[in-house]
Subunit: 78 residues, 2 copies
């Protein structure tokens, strides 16, 4: 089984209200130096062994990622 | 600036309805072999250089992670 990890995150320049909220919560808790907090998705899945990269990229473009506002990268580990 | 990446995901054994939904959507799209899809959060932030690991761990336990149902790990890169 190949273990796939997909990381999806807001594009640079796209507002991330969830990140802003967490950032101000961190400041309130005393972690004043935390900056540029951005929140995305971390998707794990299993696929049969083999060359899965093209398929995973397709999955990202078709379903997992909104390419208007999000960027992504992924890792495939045996 | 140190770049921090935090990965938060549902614990083993905890139901992940969002993951199940995405899994069945992938099957509908023809990717029948995708299994064990789990969806978590991917949080990026910046902190001043220095030994931040203890602080990031504290942030996770206090705010970013619900330790009843979620596990996490993080990376601090210069």
């Amino acid at each position: 089984m190949a273990r796939v990890k997909v990381f999806v995150y807001p594009k640079k320049g796209v507002l991330d209200p969830q990140g802003k909220t967490v950032e101000s919560a961190l400041h309130t808790l005393g972690y004043k130096k935390a900056s540029n907090v951005r929140i995305g998705k971390y998707i794990e899945m299993e696929l049969p062994d083999g060359d899965n990269k093209k398929m995973v990229d397709e999955m990202c473009r078709k379903l997992l990622v909104n390419s208007v506002i999000e960027d992504y990268h992924f890792e495939v580990a045996a």
